[in-house]
C-alpha cells in the first residue's frame, strides 16, 4: 500500500532560504494552510547556499522535481545572495534544457509574509509534475 502511493505521488524537494521562504512555510503552517505531502522542504541559510550539485543529486537520486526559493531580488538578508542564485539556477536550467528535463526545476521568490503565494507556487508545481508523471505512465 505504502509503495503504491509513493509511486503515484511525486516527490518534490525544495530548498528554502531561512529568512524568507522557510518563514513563509512556517507561517503557512501556523495559519493551517495545506500543501501537498510530497513536498519536502529543506532549510538553507540563503538561497545562494544551494550548490547546483544538490539539485542534480536530488534529481538523480529520485526526486521528481526540485525548487529553489528565496527572498525577492534585492531583499536578501546577506544583501546580494539571491542575485548569485539567479545566475546559477538560470545556467542550471539551460543545462537541464539540453537534457530535456527543464520542467523539473523551478526558481521562485517568496518573502516571509507571503504564505499564500508559497502555497500557490508549491501546489501548482506539484500538480504540474503529477500531471507530467501521469502522462508518462499512460504512454
Amino acid at each position: 500500500m505504502a509503495e503504491e502511493t509513493s509511486k503515484k505521488n511525486p516527490e518534490i524537494v525544495g530548498f528554502c532560504c531561512s529568512y524568507c521562504t522557510f518563514k513563509a512555510s512556517e507561517m503557512a503552517g501556523s495559519l493551517r494552510m495545506k500543501y501537498p505531502e510530497g513536498v519536502k522542504v529543506i532549510e538553507v541559510p540563503c538561497s545562494s547556499r544551494v550548490d547546483p550539485a544538490f539539485i542534480i543529486k536530488a534529481i538523480v537520486e529520485g526526486a521528481d522535481g526540485v525548487f529553489v526559493s528565496g527572498c525577492h531580488p534585492g531583499d536578501c538578508h546577506f544583501i546580494k545572495g539571491n542575485f548569485y542564485t539567479r545566475r546559477k539556477i538560470a545556467a542550471l536550467k539551460e543545462m537541464f534544457d539540453a537534457f530535456s528535463m527543464k520542467d523539473r526545476l523551478r526558481l521562485f521568490w517568496v518573502s516571509a509574509s507571503e504564505a499564500r503565494r508559497f502555497i500557490d507556487k508549491v501546489t501548482s508545481f506539484y500538480n504540474y509534475i503529477k500531471e507530467k508523471n501521469d502522462e508518462r505512465e499512460k504512454a
Binding site: 548569485y84 543545462m95 539540453a98 537534457f99
Partner: protein
C-alpha cells in the same frame, strides 16, 4: 592590429636570449625523433617546435598552484591551453605576475591514443594533412578558437606561410620588443580562419546513459581536466559517492544498487561545475580509458551555459567568471 613579421629562427633567438637568465623558463613543445611533446626549457632551447600535432594532455594542468616569485616563465602553447591558463588565473590558481602567455595558431591535432608516425610537425604540411577531417580529433574539428588571439601575445601565420608575432598586452609587448624587425600592420586574413558557430547542443537522457554505460568511475577525466581544480573535490568524501560502510548504509536505506554507481551524478555535476571555465580541449576524452565521447557533452553544455551570459572561457583576462558576479537587472525569465 600591429605585429612583427618573423624570419625563421627569430622566435628561437629571442627565447634563447630570454633563457640566458638562470631564473627564466620556457614551457613549449620539443620535437625530436620520438615525436613532439611538452617540454620545460631551462638554459637554452633545443629541438624547439612551435606546433604540436598530437594532443595528450592540456599543459595548463601543469600550471596549477604556480605562484613563482621572481621566476619568469614564457608559455608557447596552443590557444586551448592558454585559455585554460587564463581561466586558472581568474580562479586564483596561477599568479600571472611573472608569466608571459603566447598562443600559437593551431591547425588541429590528432589523438595521442591513435598516434600516427606520419603526422608532420611543420605548419605548412599540417594544413595539407588535415584536409580530410577524419584524422583530426573531434574536439579540434569543432574548436571554438584555433587562432592565436588569446593571452599576452600570439603567433599568427598568414596565407603565404609567414609567421607574425602580435602583442596583445603590455607583457606581450615586452617580449615582442626583444625581437628583430619593426611593428607593422598585420594582414587581415590569416591562414586559420575564425571558427564557425556550432549548433545548440541537445540530447536526451537515454543516449546520455547509454554513452556512460562503459564508465568505470576511474575519475581520470576529472584529474586530467585543466580547469577542474578543486583540491577537496566533492566526490572525494562520502556525501555524493559513498564507499564502504557509508555505501552499505545507503543500500539498507534505499535498496539494491547497481555498481559502479553515480555515473550520471558524477558527470552531470562535473559538467555544471566546469561549465563556465571549460575550454573544450577534450583532455577528458583523451584521458578516458573507455573511450566515452565526453567532449560532446562537456563542450556542448559549456557552450550553452556560457552563452547565457555571453561569456567565452579564456577570451580575456578582465571578464569575470559569470558565477562570481551579477547584474541587478537581468535574467527576467529565470523565475517561474
Amino acid at each position: 592590429m600591429k605585429g612583427k613579421k618573423l624570419k625563421s629562427g627569430d622566435i628561437e633567438n629571442a627565447l634563447n636570449e630570454f633563457l640566458k637568465d638562470g631564473q627564466h623558463l620556457v614551457l613549449g613543445f620539443k620535437k625530436d625523433e620520438k615525436g613532439v611533446s611538452h617540454q620545460i626549457f631551462k638554459g637554452s632551447l633545443d629541438h624547439h617546435s612551435l606546433v604540436n600535432p598530437v594532443f595528450g594532455a592540456n599543459a595548463a594542468l601543469y600550471l596549477r598552484r604556480l605562484f613563482s616569485k621572481g621566476l619568469k616563465v614564457v608559455l608557447m602553447l596552443r590557444p586551448c591551453e592558454i585559455r585554460a591558463y587564463v581561466e586558472l588565473h581568474k580562479l586564483t590558481q596561477v599568479e600571472r605576475e611573472d608569466i608571459i602567455a603566447v598562443s600559437i595558431d593551431c591547425f588541429g591535432t590528432v589523438s595521442s591514443k591513435e598516434k600516427k608516425d606520419d603526422v608532420p610537425a611543420e605548419a605548412g604540411k599540417l594544413t595539407e594533412y588535415f584536409k580530410d577531417k577524419g584524422s583530426m580529433r573531434w574536439a579540434c574539428s569543432v574548436c571554438r578558437e584555433r587562432r592565436g588571439v588569446v593571452g599576452d601575445a600570439g603567433v599568427r601565420i598568414d596565407k603565404s606561410g609567414n609567421f607574425w608575432m602580435v602583442p596583445y598586452t603590455e607583457r606581450g609587448e615586452e617580449l615582442v620588443s626583444g625581437m628583430e624587425g619593426e611593428l607593422e600592420e598585420i594582414p587581415a586574413e590569416m591562414l586559420i580562419p575564425e571558427s564557425p558557430k556550432t549548433e545548440k547542443f541537445e540530447i536526451d537522457m537515454e543516449t546520455f546513459n547509454k554513452d556512460l554505460e562503459k564508465c568505470i568511475m576511474c575519475m581520470n577525466c576529472r584529474d586530467m581536466c585543466p580547469v577542474c581544480y578543486c583540491i577537496d573535490c566533492v566526490f572525494n568524501g562520502d556525501e555524493y559517492l559513498p564507499k564502504g560502510d557509508a555505501l552499505l548504509n545507503k543500500v539498507f536505506r534505499t535498496g539494491s544498487m547497481q555498481m559502479p554507481r553515480g555515473k550520471d551524478l558524477f558527470h552531470l555535476i562535473r559538467m555544471y561545475h566546469v561549465s563556465q571555465t571549460c575550454v573544450g580541449c577534450g583532455a577528458c576524452e583523451e584521458a578516458c580509458p573507455q573511450g566515452i565521447p565526453l567532449t560532446k557533452y562537456f563542450k556542448g553544455v559549456s557552450e550553452r551555459l556560457q552563452g547565457v551570459f555571453s561569456y567565452m572561457s579564456g577570451r580575456s583576462f578582465d571578464e569575470p567568471i559569470p558565477y562570481v558576479t551579477f547584474l541587478e537587472d537581468e535574467l527576467k525569465d529565470a523565475m517561474d
